[in-house]
Amino acid sequence: MKITSAKLKNSEFQDTVIESLIIEIDGVKWGVPKDPDNQMYQTYLDWVAEGNTPDPAD
């Protein structure tokens, strides 16, 4: 699982309870919830710890 890009995303809905990121993994752009139990979010945290920075939200 290799992250090539990540982008923060603003909350858009009144009843949104989970914040998300847009992360490109192995060429596919996934919507990834900021949930420590989510495997892709764990990979994202490792990616940030390696010194990478996500793009800001629109």
Partner: protein
Amino acid sequence: MSTLKVNKIRDTSGSADAITLDPSGGAVLAGVTTMTTARITTGITTSIQVGGGVTISESGIEASGIGITCANINGTKIGGRRNLVINGAFLVAQRGTSSTEVGYKTVDRFNPYSSGTDEAPTQAQVDVSSGTDPYNEGFRKALKITNGNQTSGAQAASRVLPQYKFEAQDLANSGWNYTDPNSFITISFWVKSSIAQTYYGYVRTQDGTGRIYTYSVSLSADTWTKVVKTIPGNSGITINNDNGEGIQWNVLIPFAGTNYTDSGVSLNTWRTYVSGTRTPDYTTTWYTTNDATFELTGLQAEVGSQATPFEHRSFAEERLLCQRYYIKYVQQGCSGYIESNAGTTAQLTHTIPVPMRANPSTVCTTAASIGVERGGLYGINSTSGALGWMYENDLSIGWAMDTAKTRWHTTWCRVQNLELDAEL
């Protein structure tokens, strides 16, 4: 030695004969016979019969009528689900049936991992050939790994390892007293490799201080082999009662480079996990053979010291179990609304068959999906959805549209190739 010749033996105060002898060498014991130890060494060539209902013979115990009453079998539960592995017969492959990518790409719940390769191995769900031993035991599908062309040879960082991850609470609630060395879990599987050599596998705990238990298997080329390993508990093991990863099972590893191996690794015992001492050093033959193959099926992990026959489950049942971790819909109809003025995001509610393990990642790989709103058509042009919430069997995802819509318009959409991923 002398011989006492009598026909019957009776207690001096008894009123009936206790033993009646017959001329052919046999004897009939009457009344209640008490003995400390009955050791029968030879002579019973057919069976022992208890009344008309129980027969004990060389081939086993046959009981009719009320059957057998016992506390447990193999030290664990008698009925119910035994196999802790989901999709151990590789029936379910929601993502696809062949891929050269790494990780969860074909058979569900299975992570064929590789790194440090020149050419990625191919993973595939394949048919088990009829007439083979696993076929005769009811296995129709297998996971096949075909090696790439590793032109650089075996490197220290190279590895190919078929991997399964147990959810921690499934182990914590299994009945395995994993801190007790007298409590066991037994793993079993079928394996076939095109290369004859010794391979290693291991189980590795993920909570607390990592512990690892490594074992070896020697295979003949192109021969299906049934492997059984019984693993004791250990006081150093921690398994949380939660939805995280409990144990990582690297079933049998085609190759691991020296970054992960050490010549001094002890087999068949629990050790503290160290990345560079996962297995003994590897023979490189499989890895350096272009298109070498490695097949697995019939993965089972069960509480107790004995391997029992594989617990075959129906396709529908296995699929539901898999969908706790990953769901793919080729088509799904769902409804929702537009929340903001001139909004370009549709908030759609998706119904799922089972609550997922964690909040899933979302993607819709086909951009040509259509939504219907007041008779007009519009596309969902974003491939990544933003999960808003998940409650039990419903989740809400925001999908970008190619046309702005007025606030609070409701919509119905047919979403294609929807993927929800909550794998470990």
